[in-house]
Amino acid sequence: MHTNNTFSIARAWYALRADLVQHHRAVLTGAGAAAALVLVINVITARQAHGGDMHAGLFPAVMGLGGILFTSSLFTDLHDKARAHGYLTLPVSTLERWAVRLLLSTIAVAAAAMAGYFLVTLLAAGISELIWGRAHGIFVPGADAWRSMLSYMVTSSLFLFGAVYFRRWQAFKVVLSVAALWLALMLLAAALVWLLFPALFAALDQDLNLSEIAPHLTGPIVQGAKIFYWAVMAPLFWLLTYLRLRTAEV
């Protein structure tokens, strides 16, 4: 019998179902804690509600933080010797193994966050009306919420790679690595400018208006960073996650 060794929707579904059944308790506990926090914040701040949209700030924060913590813990079975045997010998392809975890870290988190947040704000509005006679508006996903979701999906790709790469303290190590890389890039950039444009450094000793020249220097960098973030970062780290998973050993 011929077996498709690359991708099978049936196998991917079985693997996804197994993941959901195995981890539903931990996920529900985490989601429940986040929901309770959002509920309390909504109800407490409703007393001074002045018509501003508090969800514009709270929703991305809850989805981002919760999603990143969840994503960072997605490959704990790979790093635990007692569980890695079962995970790596489950009859699914590497592409299916990767796709399931990618789906969980992106679409599943975003959809669950949106639906959950909507339900919590609905409940919070009812409670607030009863207690204070006023309430924050119910969360209705607008353009900002969709943009936050896209931004979360891009950012989570980095943490997904961190989850497969680091054995412990994945989220913390990713943040630390990014900070270290950022510092290294800044120092490198400063060194390059110093080497290539020494006159600029000499001018710093004189009365130079940096705010005049800064946009000319930073404009291309910011543009490049935006292109990297929105077009390159997610595919790059998803690919790196796949490659790391393919070569994972016990």
């Binding site: 019998m1 077996t3 498709n4 060794n5 099978s8 196998r11 079985y14 179902r17 197994a18 059944v21 195995q22 308790r25 079975d77 635990d80 010797k81 007692a82 569980r83 890695a84 045997h85 079962g86 790596l88 010998t89 489950l90 009859p91 699914v92 392809s93 590497t94 299916e96 070569t247 050993e249 016990v250």
Partner: protein
């Protein structure tokens, strides 16, 4: 079924656990993989399963390169490790959730094996003892219908009745198209079941023979009747362990040597003989070695 050729592997950059190791396992056998602590038995099993990648050489099983971990290979493989994790599921839920990955999974057989091992199929595994959990995994492993079963220290943690139940389970699982590899320290638990015997020593397979070949080539005698191993007649003499009464050690001799054999070979004595001097034991298996062993 399993074909390891020229495997070189080590955990560190300089350390080499295996250096050009070769091993071929054919269907229809329950291989007993024996070796001292740290000899690399678990590492070898992981290399067979594609859980570790050799630095050099090729590891193939069921016609595929194992490091690719393709679904077509993995559905023919079930690995019961010594350390394992069990989800918060009942054995029947486990079968429903994970049995779908194995095309020949037999739910009735799973239920029968669980009953035979005296495991409550409705109890959540996280509430079970280590031995009970292991029984569930062993029952699941056999029920998958996989053609390559790898069991790492399967009798560790099993109580005395459970060891008997496990022996019956394994005997029933042996099939012409299946390779079962059992790594164990507790050879007495699996005596009369594992055949052939494979012994790993100093990074090499130093012994691989069927029980029939072993019985034809070697036998056990009373140590007192053959004298010390240095005399040449015995391949290996096991020190006496009797407490009180007259000590009586055992000696492994070449079956065709001048001294006549008294009992069949036991695996523990064979293992000790091989790790003490595998070349001397190997000589008893080569044509014309009988006279050589006797004259040594």
């Amino acid at each position: 079924m399993v074909d390891l050729q020229g495997i070189t592997f080590g955990y560190g950059k300089r350390e080499r656990l295996f250096d050009r190791l070769d091993l071929a396992l054919t269907p229809g056998n329950v291989y007993g993989l024996l070796g001292r602590n740290g000899a690399g038995k678990t590492t070898l099993l992981r290399l067979m399963a594609g859980l570790l990648f050799p630095k050099e050489g090729s590891a193939r099983a069921a016609g595929e390169e194992v490091r690719r971990r393709t679904p077509s290979f993995l559905r023919e493989l079930y690995f019961v490790p010594e350390e394992f994790h069990t989800p918060a599921l009942t054995p029947l839920e486990l079968a429903r959730l994970y049995g779908v990955f194995y095309p020949r999974f037999d739910h009735d057989a799973m239920a029968r094996h669980l009953a035979g091992l005296e495991v409550d199929a409705q109890r959540t595994m996280t509430a079970m003892s280590y031995g009970q959990k292991k029984k569930v995994l062993l029952a699941f492993a056999v029920a998958t219908g996989c053609r390559l079963l790898i069991l790492d220290e399967p009798t560790n943690g099993l109580d005395i009745p459970a060891k008997g139940q496990f022996r019956r389970l394994l005997a029933g699982a042996a099939a012409d198209d299946r390779v079962i590899v059992v790594s164990t320290h507790q050879v007495r638990d699996l005596e009369h079941l594992i055949d052939p015997i494979v012994i790993l020593e100093q990074g090499r397979i130093v012994f691989q023979h069927s029980v029939e070949e072993i019985s034809a080539a070697l036998a056990v005698r009373d140590a007192a009747a053959v004298g010390p191993a240095d005399d040449g007649e015995a391949l290996y003499v096991e020190p006496a362990t009797a407490v009180g009464g007259a000590p009586s050690g055992r000696a492994l001799v070449a079956a065709g040597s001048a001294a006549r054999a008294e009992t069949a070979v036991d695996i523990e004595l064979l293992f000790n003989s091989v790790v003490a001097d595998h070349r001397r034991v190997a000589a008893a298996f080569t044509p014309g070695a009988e006279a050589g062993a006797a004259n040594k």
